[in-house]
C-alpha cells in the first residue's frame, strides 16, 4: 500500500463516516475497497472507533438515576473499594512528582457536563425556586459568564433546601473552579461531591473523573490514580479514558 495513496483514502474514509460524501463518491470509495480489501479493513476499524467515541460522548444521557436503596449500595461498595484502593495506593506510594502530569489532564470541562436544576415542579415553592435558580446559574456558565455563574451558585448555597441541591451546586462550582484554574477549590468541591450520598450515579462517576484530572493539574499522581480507580470501579462512560490514563500513569511510575 503506497503511503500517499493510503492517506488520501484515509481522508475519504473520514469524510464518509462524517456523512460528507455524495452517493457517487461513496461508490468510488467502495470500488477502492473491492480493489484493495485492506482499505476496507481500515474503514471498518475507523467506523468502530468513531462509534466508541460517540458512545462515550452520549452514554451519560442514557444512564437513569437509581433509587435511594441503590445509591446506598453504591455508596457502601465505594467505601469498600476505597479501602482496597487505599492499600494499593499505600503499596505504590512514591514521592517523586512528574512535571508532565498537567499535560495529561483535561484542558477544560465543557459546561454541558453541569448538573441542571430539576424541571419537575415540586409542591414546595422554595424547592422549585432553587431549581430554577440552578438553571439560571448553569445558563450563565453556558454564556461563559463564569464569575456571574459562581456568584449565583454561592448565593444559592445559602438557600438550598435539600442535600441533592447542595451536591449539584457544589459539582457545578467545581467545574467552574476547574475552568478558572482554581484547582484547589475545584478539588475540595469535587471531594465534597464524591462524599455525598445524595448524588446521582451519573454525576458521581463524572465527579471522580474530574477529580482525577484536578489532581493531575495539582501534580498529585498518587491521588489522581486513586480517583481513576474509582472511575474504573464505577464502570461508566469514562471507563475507557480512565483505563488508558491509568496505564500511562502506571508506566510513568515505573
Amino acid at each position: 500500500m503506497k503511503n500517499k495513496e493510503a492517506i488520501e483514502v484515509s481522508k475519504r474514509i473520514d469524510a464518509y463516516i462524517r456523512g460528507k460524501l455524495s452517493k457517487s463518491e461513496i461508490d468510488e470509495l467502495w470500488l477502492l475497497f473491492l480493489k484493495n480489501p485492506v482499505y476496507y479493513e481500515l474503514f471498518e476499524t475507523e467506523l468502530h472507533l468513531k462509534n466508541l467515541i460517540q458512545k462515550h460522548r452520549y452514554s451519560g444521557g442514557l444512564i437513569t438515576p437509581k433509587s435511594d436503596g441503590y445509591k446506598k449500595m453504591i455508596y457502601w461498595s465505594l467505601a469498600a473499594a476505597a479501602t482496597v484502593i487505599f492499600i494499593l495506593t499505600f503499596q505504590y506510594y512514591f514521592t517523586d512528582q512528574n512535571p508532565e502530569l498537567d499535560s495529561l489532564a483535561l484542558t477544560s470541562i465543557t459546561y454541558h457536563e453541569m448538573a441542571d436544576g430539576s424541571t419537575e415542579r415540586s409542591d414546595d415553592e422554595l424547592t422549585t425556586d432553587v431549581e430554577t435558580d440552578i438553571n439560571r446559574a448553569v445558563a450563565a456558565a453556558y454564556m461563559l459568564k463564569e464569575d456571574e455563574s459562581i456568584e449565583l451558585f454561592r448565593e444559592l448555597m445559602d438557600s438550598v433546601v435539600s442535600e441533592s441541591q447542595r451536591v449539584r451546586i457544589q459539582f457545578n462550582m467545581a467545574i467552574l473552579y476547574y475552568n478558572l484554574s482554581e484547582y484547589e477549590s475545584a478539588r475540595d468541591s469535587f471531594i465534597s461531591v464524591t462524599n455525598s450520598e445524595a448524588i446521582d450515579e451519573i454525576y458521581l462517576e463524572r465527579a471522580w473523573w474530574f477529580l482525577a484530572n484536578t489532581y493531575l493539574k495539582l501534580n498529585n499522581q498518587t491521588e489522581a490514580m486513586e480517583a481513576i480507580l474509582m472511575v474504573k470501579f464505577l464502570n461508566g462512560r469514562n471507563y475507557i479514558q480512565a483505563s488508558m490514563l491509568y496505564e500511562t500513569l502506571e508506566q510513568w511510575q515505573m
Binding site: W30, L34, H48, L49, I53, Q54, L245, E247, T248
Partner: protein, 180 residues
C-alpha cells in the same frame, strides 16, 4: 486487485480461480449493500449471489467490454439485484418500487459489530503511549477534525492525518490478529 483475472478465469473455464475471486469480493459486496441501501445481511447475500448469476453469463458471452470496469459494474448490478429482491417481496403491496424511492442510509452504521467493538476496545488499551495520547484527545473532542489534532499536538495538518492513519493501521493490525 485487477479483476480482469476473473474474466480470464471464466473464459478459460477455470472455475476454481473464478470461485476464489468471487469469494474474495463477496463479503465486501454484501457490506456495500448493508451500508449503502440498508440491506439486511440475508438479503444482501441473496442479492450478491443473484448478481453473480447475472454477471457471469455476460462475461462468458463476451458482453463485458471493459474487464477493468468489472468491479464498478458489479457494484451497480448488486444494488439493482437488491432492489429487484425488494420489489419481489413487496409486489403485493406496491405496483412499482423505484430505486430512487428507497431511502438510502447516508452513513454506514449498519456495519457495526458488537464483537469487533469489544476487540477494538482491547486493542485501544494495548496502543503505545504515542497513539494513546491521540486517542485520548479524540475521546475528549468527539468532533475534532485533523486541523484540531494538528493544533493540539503542534504538528502540520498533513502530519495529523498521517498520525491518525497510522494509529488506525495499528488498531486494525491488532483487531485482525485477535480475530485470527
Amino acid at each position: 486487485m485487477d479483476y480482469s483475472e476473473l474474466v480470464e478465469a471464466i473464459n478459460d473455464e477455470d472455475m476454481r480461480t473464478a470461485n476464489r475471486l468471487c469469494g474474495d469480493i463477496l463479503p465486501i459486496l454484501k457490506k456495500y449493500l448493508i451500508a449503502t441501501v440498508g440491506a439486511k445481511p440475508e438479503d444482501a447475500e441473496d442479492a450478491v449471489q443473484r448478481m453473480f448469476e447475472y454477471v457471469i453469463p455476460k462475461i462468458q458471452n463476451n458482453e463485458i467490454k471493459s474487464p477493468s470496469g468489472l468491479l464498478a459494474y458489479m457494484l451497480t448490478a448488486a444494488r439493482h439485484s437488491y432492489y429487484k429482491i425488494k420489489k419481489e417481496y413487496n409486489s403485493n403491496k406496491f405496483d412499482l418500487i423505484d430505486e430512487n424511492l428507497v431511502a438510502e442510509p447516508e452513513q454506514p452504521w449498519g456495519l457495526l459489530d458488537k464483537e469487533q467493538e469489544t476487540i477494538l476496545f482491547q486493542c485501544i488499551k494495548e496502543l503505545k503511549n504515542h497513539y494513546k495520547k491521540l486517542i485520548r484527545f479524540l475521546f475528549d473532542h468527539p468532533n475534532a477534525v485533523s486541523e484540531d489534532i494538528a493544533e493540539y499536538f503542534d504538528i502540520s495538518v498533513s502530519n495529523a492525518w498521517i498520525r491518525k492513519h497510522r494509529m488506525i493501521q495499528k488498531l486494525n493490525e491488532c483487531v485482525r490478529k485477535k480475530f485470527e
